[in-house]
């Protein structure tokens, strides 16, 4: 464990570019985990990842049931892709994932953002993607600190012991 003493991670910059439950939660769990360890954490949401911090969308995240080879039926049988195309299946699967997470005390997205920011973590939206999707500052959760450019993102990353993570 000598390495953890010589070169500790001091700051993580996490980028989330997708809106699926698994992509968003990977970013949030990593950010919250960093804050819990006393590591500075900043999360940058871009492209479809913006859904996770948009008030209108953040409670409606889904996991894809089509083209997802990791999908299985309860019990472990393969999940036929054609099933995933049926109306309501994606919503049902997503609701099931959310209830499983709740059982592990993993909070819903808005509460997760609150946990991260309460611990000193910061949430940012990508300016380019915000303009592309024609969103405004008021469309975002109160936990979003700012809308920033990629240049500003790299400025925030400055310092020894920073890791940039693209989920």
């Amino acid at each position: 464990m000598a390495n953890t003493i010589d070169h500790p991670v001091k700051k993580v910059m996490i980028i989330c570019a997708k809106a699926s439950i698994e992509d968003v939660y990977a970013a949030l769990v990593m950010a919250n985990g960093a804050v819990m360890e006393g590591i500075e954490a900043k999360v940058f949401f871009t492209f479809f990842g913006l859904d996770a911090i948009t008030k209108k969308q953040m409670k409606k995240l889904h996991t894809g049931t089509v083209g997802n080879p990791g999908m299985r039926m309860p019990g472990g049988l393969p999940f036929p892709t054609i099933l995933g195309m049926l109306p309501g299946v994606e919503a049902g699967v997503s609701a099931m994932m959310k209830s499983q997470m709740e059982k592990l005390d993993i909070p819903p997205v808005d509460e997760f953002l609150e946990l991260i920011t309460a611990g000193g973590g910061e949430i940012y939206a990508c300016k380019l993607a915000v303009e592309m999707f024609k969103l405004k500052k008021e469309d975002f959760s109160e936990h979003v600190k700012d809308i920033i450019t990629i240049g500003q993102f790299y400025e925030l990353a400055a310092g020894e012991g920073t890791q940039i993570i693209f989920t």
């Binding site: 769990v29 985990g33 819990m36 005390d105 609150e114 946990l115 309460a118 611990g119």
Partner: protein, 103 residues
């Protein structure tokens, strides 16, 4: 595993400094471990630690979220009381095992 003297009592601790036997814990030991963590212990700290011990001894999993919802302290207050790594520091001061939760 090692023996350490806190508040005049010898207790066994892990390599990371967590008590191995929660029943050896006393308030005086908590105050000395807190000092090692750079914390001057107050009644507010004790309130959180009591909650943590109670929950842990009941065998319930400990998460930052559950502490934030405890009514004893909110999440921000928890980070303020145990700056840096609150769940680890508070667990160590509370004399329980190193937290194994990811949230």
């Amino acid at each position: 595993m090692a023996e350490k003297i806190y508040a005049g009592k010898s207790v066994s601790v892990t390599d990371d400094g967590y008590l191995t036997d929660a029943s050896q814990w006393t308030k005086e030991i908590a105050a000395e471990i807190a000092k090692e963590e750079g914390i001057d212990i107050t009644d507010k700290h004790y309130a959180v630690i009591d909650f943590i011990r109670e929950k842990t001894l009941k065998g319930e999993a400990l998460t930052i979220r559950s502490i934030g919802k405890s009514g004893v302290v909110d999440t921000k207050g928890f980070y303020d009381l145990f700056p840096g790594a609150p769940l680890k520091k508070a667990s160590r001061i509370a004399g329980i095992a190193k937290p194994s939760s990811c949230v």
